[in-house]
Structures are given as C-alpha cells and as structure tokens.
C-alpha cells in the first residue's frame, strides 16, 4: 500500500438512488479501519404502535402505507396475518390472485431498481434521466416493463401503490374471465422485452467481492417460494411462521432508526440473492436459462450479484404470472364473498410471512375478541440486511484500498454496494417491539 492509501475519510449524506434516507460513514487511519457505518436517518414512523386500536378490516390500509414500493407485499403479509388470527382458510382462487399480485410487485420493484437505480452506474450516468437521450431504447423498454407490472396490479387490485380491493378473506371485486384473458394476452406480448433485459444485464461487469454469509428466506417443497413456506437459512436452521423469532434476532443500534438482525453469525442476508442461493433448484426453466446467460450459479457469495438474482427472478415471476393466469382462466371465476364480520369471540395472534422484493417480511398481529389489534410486530427485509451491509464494508474497504483505488472511486463503489441491496429505508425505519405486553 502507498502512503496515500493508508487513510480514508468517507461520509456520504443521503445516498442517492435508493428508497429512503441513509448515510455511509467510513474512516481508515494508518491503514486500519476505525469507523464504518450505514446510518439510517429516516424519521421514525412507529407503525407497530399505530396499529394498536385498528380494526381487522383496516389493518392492511395502515400497513400498506409503510412502503410505496412494496405496498402489495405488505398488504399480502398483513392479510395473511389477519386471516391466520381469524382461522380463515383462503380459496385456491384467492391464493392464485394474491400470487399474481405479489409476483407483479417483484417485477415492478426489480425492474425499477435494476433499470432506474442501478443501470446508470454501468452506463456512467448520474441518473436514468440523461439516459433517455443517450440510451433511448433501454429507457423506453424500462418504462414499458414498469408500466406492464403497474397494469397487472391495476387490473387486479386497482393500483400498485396502495392496493385496493384485496381484503381479509378475499376480494371486494373480482375480475371477469374475459378481463383475465385480455390481461394474459397483454402480458404474453412482453416476452421479448423480458428476454432483452436478461441480455442487457449480462453485458454489465459486476465488481468483485466474495464474502459468504448466512442466507435467509422462506422455502416451500413445491415451488420457488414467495407467497408461502417455512423460514430457513443456509446455515441449516428452519422455523414455522409462529416461531420466526428462533431465526430472526433483533437489536436496537444507535446509528439507525431501523433495527439490526442476526441469527448464527454477526449478520445475515435476505433478498433475491438469498432466495436464489436457497431455492434455485425450483426456478422455472426460463429463469434457469436466464441465470445461465447471466453467469449466476449457486451458491453465489458476491453481494453485488443481488442485482443479477433480481433479473433472474423477473424472468421467473413473468412466466409464473402467465401460468397462474392460465389456471385461473381454465377454472373460471367463482363469485366468492369475503367475510364482513370478525368471527365471534376469536382472539389471538396471527403471523403472515412472505418474500417481498427485498427479502423476508413478517407481520405479526395480536387481536382481541372484537377483532381490534392489541399488539403488533413487523420485521422488514432492509433491517435484516443492515448488519450485513456493514460486514461487507469491513471486508470490501481493505480490499479496494489494497487495489490502490482513490477515495472518490471507493465512495462510488460503496454507494453501488449499498444500492445492490436495494435498501428500502422508508420501510425499515420503525423498529419492532421486543415482546408482546
């Protein structure tokens, strides 16, 4: 190492092109890393406290507002928690519709993140806006795809942010078979854009960093799990939804309004790469083909490849939506009515766990016998990744300093690393209560 590369003083206030407010702090003195933090400065939002006193029918209308990007995921987890507490068994039709909406949200979020927030780094642009002139085809394709995922949500739940019409037990308004057929034909016409996206991201060179960690996701015997499954980690732990605290251990840290999470190691990772590492064998053939073209193979221990895993998942979700629409069209739509009343005397706790774009999301509600929330706990994917981002910093900073990179380059690479996790800080900036009263 040269003399100049022995010190480093990085402070990035409000990292750009991520959702929410976060700062990067890194200090190296005499070649030693003395300070390294991902600060979360988002205002605290207190959703768990605000849920207390809400009715079962309205809990979802509060919790979807946690996040504009994963509103459908929060909605899905929220409804699963409430239905669990009610002892309600969903129909196959409801499950299929919910799966489509959840998959459409993965598409929306992954495409938005990869095209609008990550791609500018690879094209050397400050944002997607100047790319409209320099890479018009790419930007127009990104807009078409984003619009497609919006359209799917709009047809099924009114809009993507914030969904309307899906309620505990089902839907207030069901689509007709004709609407579903039109939707299917429309979705099917984007095949080339989906594949072109794979080819574009296959040309990007991902920065080198190998650091193995514990990968957490849900897993399901029959499918690449997003909607349903048991919690698992790559270190061999498994847990049912009600026992999520056996794996997800949370702690409050001073420099973050979002809590940190760990299990067996100092940190763990959730999100597309964790899901890919844990469940890659269950991807559909189109997604497996995409992974091959992108050069992504499990186990992958480079966190920058979270973006690559996101692209693989867009392919999986896209073709999965077509299959789900086919099965709904074939079965026809039953005129099912959701319950309007809370089941008499039914008090207790419900847990809903789903995989949202950024990882495993847990909603846990405690209800009294009138269906009023008396306690709540939410575990947000970005919280679970924060300790892991810091652990990556500690591995990556000495590596890039050794390579003789300058401070501006290192700063840019650290921002890219944070961005690779696709953090959603609005979501994460409210902690969880330690236990129920």
């Amino acid at each position: 190492m040269t003399e100049a590369s022995k010190t480093l003083d990085i402070r990035v206030d409000y990292v750009t092109r991520i959702e929410g407010h976060g700062n990067i702090v890194a200090k190296v003195q005499d070649g030693e890393l003395v300070e390294c933090r991902m600060e979360i400065t988002e205002s605290p939002r207190f959703f768990e406290a605000m849920l207390r006193g809400r009715s079962w029918a309205d809990a979802m209308f509060l919790t979807t507002r946690i996040c504009g990007i994963c509103a459908c995921g929060h909605g899905t987890a929220s409804l699963k928690a409430t239905e669990d507490a009610m002892g309600f068994t969903r129909s196959e039709q409801t499950e299929r519709l919910r799966r489509i909406v959840l998959a459409a949200e993965q598409l929306e979020s992954h495409w938005l993140h990869c095209y609008f927030l990550v791609a500018p780094d690879f094209f050397g642009a400050p944002s997607v806006i100047p790319m409209a002139k320099t890479h018009t085809d790419v930007v127009l394709r990104a807009m078409r795809l984003k619009k497609l995922s919006h359209h799917i949500c709009r047809v099924l739940v009114g809009r993507h942010t914030h969904p309307i019409g899906m309620v505990p037990g089902g839907y207030m308004k069901l689509p007709s078979v004709r609407t579903l057929k039109e939707l299917r034909d429309h979705v099917a016409s984007f095949d080339k854009d989906v594949q072109d996206t794979v080819d574009l991201f296959a040309t990007f060179e991902t920065p080198a960093l190998e650091r193995e960690t514990e990968y957490e996701s849900i897993t399901h015997p029959q499918e690449y799990a997003f909607f349903d499954g048991r919690l698992m980690t790559s270190d061999g732990d498994e847990a049912d939804s009600h026992a999520y605290r056996d794996i997800i251990h949370e702690e409050v840290v001073r420099h973050s309004t979002a809590k940190h999470v760990k299990n067996r190691r100092e940190s763990l990772m959730v999100g597309a790469l964790a899901r890919f590492n844990n469940n890659h064998g269950q991807l559909n053939p189109e997604a497996k083909n995409a992974a091959e073209r992108l050069g992504l193979a499990a186990p992958c221990t480079n966190p920058f490849h979270n973006n690559t895993a996101q692209i693989v998942e867009t392919v999986h979700c896209y073709y999965d939506i077509l299959l789900l629409l086919d099965s709904l069209i074939e079965a026809g739509i039953e005129d099912e009515k959701p319950p309007l009343e809370w089941p008499a005397g039914c008090a207790g706790t419900g847990v809903g766990i789903v995989e949202v774009p950024r990882g495993t999301l847990v909603h846990e509600y405690e209800y009294d016998e009138h269906g009023i929330v008396t306690g709540a706990n939410l575990v947000i994917p970005t919280n679970q990744n924060l300790a892991n981002i810091e652990a990556d910093f500690r591995a990556y900073i000495p590596q890039v300093m050794e390579e003789g990179k300058r401070e501006e380059e290192i700063t840019h690479l650290l921002e890219m690393l944070v961005r690779a996790y696709d953090p959603c800080i609005s979501c994460s900036a409210h902690l969880v209560k330690v236990e129920f009263k």
């Binding site: 409000y14 750009t16 092109r17 959702e19 929410g20 407010h21 205002s43 605290p44 939002r45 207190f46 768990e48 406290a49 605000m50 207390r52 006193g53 809400r54 009715s55 309205d58 209308f61 509060l62 507002r65 996040c67 504009g68 990007i69 509103a71 938005l112 609008f116 927030l117 400050p126 944002s127 997607v128 806006i129 409209a132 127009l140 807009m143 984003k146 619009k147 919006h150 709009r154 739940v157 009114g158 809009r159 993507h160 942010t161 914030h162 309307i164 019409g165 309620v167 839907y171 207030m172 308004k173 409050v252 001073r254 309004t257 309007l340 609005s426 979501c427 409210h430 902690l431 209560k433």
Partner: protein, 251 residues
C-alpha cells in the same frame, strides 16, 4: 422564473409512494423534462442545486430535524408544493398523535426510546407557507401532471372541491352504504377518479382530506342510521384525518 425552471423533490416521513407516482407518469414526464430541469430527486438521481423554482415535498414533519429541513427547503424555494396526504394532512403519520407519545416510542424502541425523539406528526402547512397542495395517498399521477403543467404555464391550479360521492355516482358504482359498508366518500375531497377505492369495491378511507365545507350533519345522520358507534366513526376518520379532530368530536 428563469427560462428553464428548476424542479426539486424531497421526502420527509412517508413511504415515498408519491414520488413513485411521479415516476409512474413514465413517458408523460418526458415533455416536462424538455421544459424544466429536475435538479434534486434523490430517489432517482444524483445531484443538487442552491435554489429551486418549484419544490415538491412528500411526507410529514415528525422530528425536530424534519422541522429544520422543511424550513431550509422553504427558504430555497419559490413555489412549494405539498405532495400527497402525509404532506397535506399528515396522513397515517397522525394516527400516533392520539396515543401517549412516550408510550408510542417505548412500544417500538423499548428502553432505547430516548435515542429516537419525535414530535406530534403534522402537515407542511402547520410550519411553513404552502403554495399548492396535491392530495391523496398516494397522489393521482394525472393530477400531478396537471399541476406541473399549470405551474410551468403560470396558471393557477384549482383543486376539486366536491365530495367523492359525485365522481362515484358518475362512475355508476352502487353506494357502499347500501351494502352496509361505512364509506367516507360523503365528506372526502374528490379528485381520485378513475382510481377511486369504491370503483375497486372498497370504501373510501378519506385519504384526500375533507372538502372545504363538508356536510357533516348529513354524514352523521347516515352514520347514525347505520348504527355506527362513536368509536367506529373515530376509527374511520383517524386513519387519515387526524388533524380534523373537530369533525370526529362532533360525531
């Protein structure tokens, strides 16, 4: 305004869903980018500037730091636009205003509650002058485009001042009250059509705030007719309209 006006976007406490609705304008944003420069949009871009002709701020004020930030932003801004329910009426953030603030912090942060101080949630207009409001949770992308077009052309923007019921009738929806579902469309400011909740089969939850002169007596009569208790009514109103407490009290 200069030849090519500058636009900026900021977020306080919120889900950033309203900025997403701006991005969701997609190709319709391109003509705006011909007429104006976006100099600050952290969610989508690097960069900043010293002065903004038009600033859009989403989110509520919930900390002393938010308070400082909105004052700094106001000082650098010619026209301040409150973007979405959190900024116009404090939105869902105000739900916590009806609980003991100490208990709220302790419930979420446990014995570390002092690390993260907070103040009662409030809309932008409670602290600084606001020039234009775009209501909704989230905002309606079309209304955003209309407001920007008016601002760039130097024309006033007039927000709808009639209740959601009017648009709901025009859309041919069956009234949800007739299905036994309490709906706040009777007093809530319209402007959400065609994406309004009743068109997706769900009750209006009042995210756009009240019309200027809501017919609260009629609303109360309807609610009484359907046997709602004061607790039920408060719960309905306080999801979004925490600062309009006087309406709830009358009920």
């Amino acid at each position: 305004m200069a030849d090519k006006p500058t636009l900026a976007f900021f977020s306080l406490a919120c889900c950033e869903g309203c900025q997403l609705q701006v991005l969701a304008c997609e190709e319709k944003l391109l003509p705006i980018l011909e007429k104006a420069d976006i100099v600050r949009f952290r969610e989508a871009s690097d960069g900043d500037a010293d002065h903004y002709d038009v600033t859009f701020v989403e989110g509520s004020i919930v900390t002393a730091h938010d308070l400082e930030r909105i004052k700094e932003i106001r000082a650098k801004t010619d026209t301040l636009v409150a973007l979405g329910a959190c900024a116009t009426i404090a939105g869902v953030n105000a739900v916590k205003n009806f609980q003991d603030p100490d208990d709220v912090a302790a419930y979420v942060y446990g014995d570390k509650k002092e690390w993260f101080p907070h103040i009662a949630a409030r809309p932008l207009k409670a602290e600084v002058p606001v020039d234009v409001e775009i209501h909704g949770c989230p905002i309606n992308s079309d209304e955003f485009l209309e407001v920007v077009t008016c601002l760039l052309m130097g024309k006033p923007y007039r927000q709808p001042n009639y209740p959601v019921c009017v648009d709901c009738k025009l859309a041919g929806n069956v009234c949800l009250w007739n299905k036994g579902i309490p709906c706040l469309g009777v007093v809530t400011r319209a402007g959400c059509a065609p994406l309004m909740c009743p068109s997706a089969g769900h009750k209006c939850i009042g995210c756009r705030g009240l019309v200027d002169n809501p017919n609260t007596q009629a609303a109360k009569d309807v609610m009484a007719e359907f046997g709602l208790t004061v607790d039920d009514v408060l719960r309905e109103f306080r999801l979004f309209q925490g600062i309009y407490d006087e309406v709830a009290k009358e009920a």
